[in-house]
């Protein structure tokens, strides 16, 4: 298993994400999906894994966010970003993004690797669903040939309802983060919609992000 970097999430998933798996985290903007990705990468850097972060944002923005949630930026992953990285992420050129991710992973094929990316939603907005389904299907299949865990983020509320449901089929694990309503209160909750090697996990988990980490605890209904 590959640690998620968040002890309570590891515990929830039975020691982390499965080896050679593809994980999708879905949630509305601002809810904290990226934090799971940051801790996943941070954990890999500490363990000596090769880590790649492919993002449509500038490197400086991501580093600022990391610091904001208490993640040290002494060690950083290799970047494919819109600016501030040697390899540029150009959302108008999906082929180059796929090529660069696969090329970086192939260069480090002797090591265990982790890839985190937030380009799924932008590419889904900018391209037809059919072509993106094939694109991600091919990319994820190629990455699974190596000792590598892929972690992707998807924005909810930006796509037609069937789009993310379709994309979920390509991933081994799907985690949903959302604001949920219970009576008059609104609570940020997380649930594991599916995870390779695990029976269906029912129930919701309350999550919180502090300056020192992330905590996930069972939600008492």
């Amino acid at each position: 298993m590959v640690s998620s970097g968040v002890p309570s999430v590891d515990q929830l998933l039975g020691d982390g994400y499965p080896e050679r798996s593809t994980i999708l985290v879905i949630g509305p903007p601002g809810i904290g999906k990226e934090v799971l990705g940051y801790w996943f990468i941070r954990s890999g850097l500490i363990q000596g894994d090769y880590c790649l972060y492919a993002t449509h944002r500038p490197v400086s923005d991501v580093l600022r966010d990391m610091k904001g949630v208490g993640i040290s930026t002494e060690r950083v992953p290799e970047w494919i970003a819109s600016s501030g990285s040697p390899v540029r992420c150009d959302l108008k050129d999906a082929t180059s993004i796929s090529f660069n991710i696969k090329e970086a992973a192939h260069r480090n094929r002797e090591r265990r690797s982790r890839v985190a990316t937030d380009v799924l939603s932008p590419l889904l907005v900018l391209n037809p669903l059919e072509s993106m389904y094939s694109y991600w299907s091919q990319l994820l299949a190629d990455l699974k040939q190596q000792d590598l865990v892929t972690f992707a983020l998807a924005e909810e509320g930006m796509h037609p309802p069937n789009t993310l449901t379709t994309m979920e089929q390509l991933f081994d694990g799907v985690i949903e983060m959302r604001l949920f309503e219970e009576g008059l209160s609104i609570t940020p909750l997380l649930r594991v919609k599916k995870m390779l090697g695990l029976p269906p996990l029912h129930g919701y988990f309350r999550f919180s992000v502090t300056g020192t980490g992330m905590e996930v605890v069972p939600h008492v209904h």
Partner: protein, 240 residues
Amino acid sequence: MSIDLYSLVRSVAILVTLGIVALGLVRAVQMGRGFVNRLYRGRAYWTAAVMLLVMISLSMSYILGNGLGLVSVVPLGVLILVLFVFSDRTIQVAVEMDFFHRNTFHWRQVRKLLYVVLLTDILLISIEAAYPGLEQNSTGAVYFPLFAFGWATFFGLFGATIVFVAFSAARTPDRTLKRHVRLFGVFLVTFLVALFTGQPGVGLAVNLAGDLVLVAAAYSLYLMAMSLSPVGKVQKVIQP
């Protein structure tokens, strides 16, 4: 319709409006607490601030029997500042949501200048409010340009901000944010209509219609709070 019956209708309308806005305020604060990203959290809290301002003004107007005279009760500077900061946060969220992170009309730079203009405006308007006779006593050479500058930049500033908000919202792929901005527009229009139609002397029928519009304005504000969550509608937790 007798005046007493009309007063009763107005009281009910104000109470219903306050109830709806209070519910929206609670939702906005709760949603703000749910966001991890500081920009989204800030937008939620400033949405709550707009609602709080509306509640204070309505309550005070009602208690003082001053119609719906928002501007006469709440200091104008506070009103301007809260609306501007709310607009600023909305634009910043829209830029963040835009996958290409386009700095709409250089907002990140322009906003600093607009804040300086805004604070100057508030200062000038405060002077005018504190010394109502000042304008008449002046020779016109010193004070008139100040007041003219204050009001001209005030309208210019908000005109420009509306353009910024509309353009930046149009660039984001998030349909929930677009809905949020549209509802804010609906609120502003209905609230202004309610303010004018709620004034004494325009006729009871118009006053009554104004009260209904006020409830509609409050409801649009409530929906605006609900649209802070980009999924549009929070779902009930269903335990299997």
